[in-house]
């Protein structure tokens, strides 16, 4: 079956030739452009632009500083459940993996929240696998309500759902959601997602729309770098972000850069993205999306995270546990979704930021604002 074509607002076809450009003057002008568009982004994504990494870094740092100041926002993920029937080829908790499965009950969740609260976090992302009886929408709703008793800003990174379901979660105190398209290349997408709800490319693509219409305030998007041609995926991420900004003018949009680490066993990336390419993509997106939070997780090694903090990146996770019950340690051992590379604790990480002249910001939002948002006129 030939995949349906990408909608006009997303399709980056016309700019793809620029991602192979070797015209150094054009690349240099793109980096220094005051009003970059797809054309300039494509040039900055080209392999030839790798030569201008330092110039891109300087631009990215200046822009980040202007918009976010000398600060880095911090958050932490919390795995509610790793039950999953998904068929993602690259995932450690896919349905056909022999994984130890666990789901937090309310008492365990409260223990986790107490541990997270002691660490002073005020922003949290709750995670699950695909939609399962063990972790469905009513379970999420109740978990969000419990988490919101402890901290200000509760977000989700779960399965795509209906607008009305997002509204239920917004009413329970959820402020935002993250859903990575994984890849915007439909042929690769179909190969990577072997069965289940996730095979529906467009349902996933439109999940941020449904979430915002359902009353969430922020959406995070991204591509899992390594699955398909990353230049294509980065152009799509940019166009997706611009589309969301235009159509939901009150929504907060953020972009993350999850990457399949070449050195981790199990799944080999067809299009490996090394550290220099990752940095180049982050700089390029920062130059083209000056006002949008760019996020880097503990998947990346301390050296890369320390270097990228403030160079485009404005938000980071820390002290992450990717197992269910990982914070309080009172749950049975479960399989992690992916291995984290930065295992530092909060004081170690904050000391690093302070030494770089960056203030760690734990709280940047208040629960007094916790009403479902209304993006459309009633």
């Amino acid at each position: 079956m030939t995949p349906a074509s990408l909608p006009n607002w997303l399709d980056p076809e016309q700019w793809l030739p620029n991602t192979e450009s070797t015209d150094k003057n054009a690349i240099r002008s793109a980096i220094l452009s005051e009003n970059p568009t797809e054309r300039e982004l494509a040039l900055m994504l080209s392999p030839a632009a790798g030569e201008f990494l330092e110039l891109m870094a300087q631009r990215a740092q200046a822009i980040t500083r202007r918009h976010f100041g000398r600060t880095i926002s911090l958050y932490t993920p919390l795995y509610l459940s790793n039950f999953c029937n998904g068929g993602c080829l690259y995932c450690g908790i896919a349905g056909d993996r022999r994984a130890k499965r666990a789901v937090l009950d309310e008492t365990q969740l409260r223990h986790e929240m107490q541990a997270i609260q002691k660490m002073h976090f005020e922003e949290l992302v709750l995670l699950t696998g695909e939609r399962m009886p063990e972790a469905d929408v009513p379970y999420l709703r109740d978990s969000i309500a419990v988490a919101a008793e402890y901290i200000h800003n509760v977000n989700i990174e779960v399965f795509p759902m209906a607008e009305s379901e997002y509204r239920t979660l917004a009413e329970a105190g959820c402020t935002g959601m993250t859903v990575y398209q994984e890849t915007y290349d439909q042929t690769v997408y179909e190969k990577m997602h072997r069965w289940g709800d996730k095979r529906d490319f467009f349902s996933r693509l439109n999940a941020p729309d449904r979430a915002l219409r359902g009353g969430l305030r922020t959406v995070g998007i991204g591509a899992l770098l390594g699955l398909a041609d990353p230049k294509f995926d980065m152009l799509c991420v940019y166009r997706h972000a611009k589309y969301l900004q235009k159509n939901y003018w009150q929504a907060g949009v953020s972009v993350s850069f999850p990457r399949i680490r070449p050195q981790l066993g199990g799944f080999a990336a067809d299009h490996p993205v090394d550290e220099k390419m990752l940095a180049q993509f982050i700089f390029a997106l920062r130059i083209c999306l000056p006002e949008i939070p760019l996020v880097l997780s503990t998947r990346e090694a301390p050296r890369v995270r320390d270097g990228m903090a403030g160079l485009g990146i404005s938000k980071m996770s820390i002290a992450s546990k990717t197992t269910v019950g990982g914070y309080s340690g009172d749950s049975e051992e479960s399989t992690e979704q992916f291995s984290i590379s930065d295992e530092r604790n909060i004081p170690e990480f904050c000391n690093m930021l302070c030494a770089k002249g960056l203030e760690p910001v734990f709280k940047n939002w208040d629960s007094t604002y916790r009403d479902p948002a209304h993006y459309e006129k009633p």
């Binding site: 202007r66 100041g69 600060t71 002073h120 005020e122 949008i292 960056l358 208040d366 007094t368 009403d371």
Partner: protein, 260 residues
Amino acid sequence: MSDTLKIGDQELNSRLFLGTGKFSSSQAMIEAVKASGSELVTVALRRFNRAQAEDDLYGPLAELGNVRLMPNTSGAINAKEAVRAALLGRELSKSRIVKLEIHPNPHHLLPDPIETYEAAIELVKQDFLVLPYIPADPVLAKRLEDVGCAAVMPLGAAIGTGKGLSTADMIKIIVRDANIPVVVDAGLRAPSEAAAALEMGCDAVLVNSAIAVAENPAGMGAAFKIGVEAGRAARLAGLMPTSEVAMASSPLTSFLSSND
């Protein structure tokens, strides 16, 4: 001669207000506030941290005796949320001054005039000294004065852009028509721009990014202090009028009044 700035029942000797976000540490922020001589600083309620974590801004500021805190409602996307934030801010800071700030778009942070107007009416009723952050719109400024705001704070340019007084023409109209203090908020990059705002008759300026993001924030705070003082002194001294044509310094028509 004393030249205090009166905003409602508040009297201030410094015409430089500071924002407290974007600094590399609370220590850097405190040093900049001290160097700037500012007596009024604004703190976002969303940054107030009950847990007293490393990023708490209220604690260190409260220790500065001569500095008044003005909570702001940044993060609110509508009037209802801003009113709730203001009430919570008053409870925490014990200050009835509020910087009313409603920017529903989290990317450019430009103020929503409609929600701001509605929130201002409610907050004035609830006995706040309301300082709304607004687009540089002379009509909106008068509407807010009419409903009882203590001052208006038009933007010079969008927050964090450092584009200076790009709305100068509108700000001049606001100043000309206002019976309440006018404070330029947002967009300023250089002390010379702060001086220009005071020269054009603004009563004060509020600066954050330009100081927080400078290589030496305390040094930049001190520089803005001088800029504001210079601009104010020039305004009081009376600037010579500008003209498109040259003016002879000796009058050409003096012969008409001579009796010879």
